[in-house]
Symmetry: C2
Subunit: 588 residues, 2 copies
Amino acid sequence: MEKTLSILDKVNTPEDLKQLGISEMNILAEEIRKIILTKVNTTGGHLGPNLGIVEATIALHYVFNSPVDKIVFDVSHQCYPHKILTGRKEGFTDADKYQKYTGYTAPEESLHDLFKVGHTSTSVSLALGLAKGRDLRGDKENVIALIGDGSLSGGEAFEGLDNAAVSGSNIIIIVNDNEMSIAENHGGLYSNLKLLRETNGLAECNFFKALGFEYHYVDDGHDIEKLINVFQSVKDTNHPVLIHMHTIKGKGLEVAESDKEHYHWIVPGTLDRAEDFVAENYEDYGTITADYIEKKYQEDPSVIAISPATPAVSGFSNAFRDKAGIHYTDVGIAEEHAVAFSSGIAKNGGKPILGIMSSFIQRAYDQLSQDLALNNNPATILVFWGAISGADATHLTMFDIPLISNIPNMVYLAPTNKEEYLRMLDWSVGQNEHSVAIRVPCGEVYSVGVEDNTDYSILNKFKVVEQGSEVAIIGLGNFFRLGEDVKRVLAEKTGLDATLINPRFITGIDEELLETLKLNHKIVITLEDGVLDGGFGEKIARFYGNSDIKVLNFGAKKEFPDRVPLDELYQRYHLTPELITEDIKACL
Amino acid sequence: MEKTLSILDKVNTPEDLKQLGISEMNILAEEIRKIILTKVNTTGGHLGPNLGIVEATIALHYVFNSPVDKIVFDVSHQCYPHKILTGRKEGFTDADKYQKYTGYTAPEESLHDLFKVGHTSTSVSLALGLAKGRDLRGDKENVIALIGDGSLSGGEAFEGLDNAAVSGSNIIIIVNDNEMSIAENHGGLYSNLKLLRETNGLAECNFFKALGFEYHYVDDGHDIEKLINVFQSVKDTNHPVLIHMHTIKGKGLEVAESDKEHYHWIVPGTLDRAEDFVAENYEDYGTITADYIEKKYQEDPSVIAISPATPAVSGFSNAFRDKAGIHYTDVGIAEEHAVAFSSGIAKNGGKPILGIMSSFIQRAYDQLSQDLALNNNPATILVFWGAISGADATHLTMFDIPLISNIPNMVYLAPTNKEEYLRMLDWSVGQNEHSVAIRVPCGEVYSVGVEDNTDYSILNKFKVVEQGSEVAIIGLGNFFRLGEDVKRVLAEKTGLDATLINPRFITGIDEELLETLKLNHKIVITLEDGVLDGGFGEKIARFYGNSDIKVLNFGAKKEFPDRVPLDELYQRYHLTPELITEDIKACL
């Protein structure tokens, strides 16, 4: 990195920015891009969204008076320029401080950040709340929501827009239209955005005007002067205003402009590689899933893969999507629709397989319950990345077990290896009785090399993998192998030969097996890769509540850990074989 | 009721209907209205929505070929004419069979019903799934979604429309615009519907066209001939079509047409009373809530009540709403927005109190978690009707404890009487540390006559109401009084003097107290008015897992009971003092 950033060196707060002229702000924009590129290429992170919003962020902070005026960033993966301009540029210029700030807005870092946010489509509702709070207090500050075109497909965004349009006081919504979601956009709304872009905002048929907004169009969202003019024209408005701003995702980096999806978020070192994204011949649970589906729809043309705008999560690569035709649908950021749509497909003879990240299935509880499980329609929901993790608090993936497993009728399965996963997937796709979710294993693929032939239509049948006595270890899904380790360490430390059980089912307990354990066991321990509260282990504790069996439940504490290293969490939650063995010994 | 229904007597299936002329169908419409009025006035039920959809249902079944063609009724509280025309008219003409069919579509009753549905805004997504299933199978039937204007404000409906518009094959969406939700509509969309009505569908600025739909307007949704013509014109379409149809909610019954909200759903005998809806001087937890808020916002102008289109649930009567001004907002059917909006208000100095029915809080899990609790914003969520009930399976209210209580940071409170409720409510509104939900007690108001002065900022402090030994009874919320009864019966049957505990907090356990119980208790029982799985009692069972204390958890089984009488459920779940006492004795 260059030592001198001629303008940025002088800019530490929005106040400093207000002293600059347009040409200096243009230089500032390039300097911001430069430090974002260097940092993100070192640490990984969101690239395209941030490169595309540099000028607009400068113009926003030039015109408005943050933190009195309040800016809410939707999903907030485009907040790097904002962080740089609000006292946190060291997080981008000083390699030692690259990890100091989160990749999302975080009120604990700065008064300029209003909400901790990492799920999409929430900004308009949150901002409208700020505006209402302001009105109740009788204040006058501006409230601004900045939302991407991709996020508009989420129902919560529509609910917010519908309400904001009639709120009758100051709220400024900026739609950052970069013609992309993470992947390409899907939905009828996008034809209207295209029409508006093509007519310089003048088309009569206008989605935003139909909702009642005063509408402004900015054709070049990288022209700071134009942006300043439009922002100044709406500043201190006394009614709802919507600015539709056209930007280029990945602006300023040729590869990111031309391959917007793959440069949305990059891993460290991406920009140093000559050849990017050449398909490597590796296997993960995504490629296993895609390979299965690709083969399956050739046998059974009623099979269809579905993604709510996050195809990469499920292994639905560009190659997969290109080949799949009618056997693949991206519904946009619309998890509620994705679940209901899957239910409808299953009802009418199709075989839907919806792939979704654990953190985002949270957006569709009622649809899982009412649209799907209550109707017992045989859709398959693949929940990816369900595990305790060191992620940002906005992207935790450890709440899906309480969420899904307490819904009646749902069958939630926890495979422990590749063969079980494929068998469960194939069983689910082949059956017509149950709404099924599968917690796809996390991390490295573990193969036992022997095909699984279990009939999963016999529900809630746990598998005794190794019969022992005194202590029974029930290791669910990802944590089955932790169970193997516990068994080994326990044997080393105490000489006990524990029973090892793979429950496979999360949504029901094998009462018969649990009864027989009473005969020659004193302690049953449960291991689950998720939060304990409302989870799997508590059901085992309830079952044994009236017996002499002791139960120890291992899993995560109910909390929102924020980028806490996984090792540290495992220590905190006693999730190492040694700590678990100590706890068992204390109970013996 | 008249003995003869000249046309309806001949009509048992849609096939019979197809033999009729327009004038006969008009008579049929009046006959259908008549039997709906008689039945609903006897049993209670949805009145306005059904009176408004009679002609459209006749025209639909005349033109389309159900069940091959598939009609999805949004929320399905307007499906009575459909049931009458599809083999189930006895449920309306024979008083002995009034309870035979549910008030919602129910696939177990008839092939003409596609989904069990009772939550709004789902029909387009479900129908689009049916259409996709059809396309995957290579079939050609028509798929129709019938959705009210009120339901359009729900995000899931928008997600569905956005996707349906670009689906590229047959789907027919009928927007039944009766200018009402349950109460009046709220949202910018409704100004566009008004514009479209006023221009006979010709205005250029058209929400539905903006999404890309082929759009048709029907000015009189009670003109069967017009309806037949437009339905015939779109039948077998090869692309998405939207029909915007203007109807009158409550059509044909003067009082229902003029007071649409109060005749949306009526209790038995409503039509026999001369003076309706004169405010009676009775108290329930709704009036207590409204009275508290009305007083509170006069002291503190930052207080605001919020409802997602169900104001009556929370006691927000017309009188309350008329007076409240800026201190009340109806956000339309938009539970996700309602929660995020509340979070924003709380963030900016307001004091939001969101009233919502247990069954519908399910629609906002991710917003409770991400938009609210992760941010620790001090909003107050009042969850009404949370209890085991004999309701339709689509409106169960027993899942809110697992839903809310396993979210980190949330404080979920369970008052057992009026005084506790008011104290908790006032504490929640006054504090700035926590996102709080309160499970408002159900049923008759129980007052102890002594003000509660507890400081609820000391979290998770259970209250020992009566100190005993051997057995401790933890009676949560509504079921505290069941706990009192159990204590009494247990004393009668065994002579044991049990400890009685009111936990008050659902989201955390009083570890110190639970530890001390170990000293002189053998059994701890938990009573909760909700599903056991993922609930409160399991946390107690987990806590005592490594001890000698026996734990018995009482609550509902994980299932979707469908209109099962409450007494029967209490027997099934062992929720009577006698059955619980038996279970305790068996464990002693």
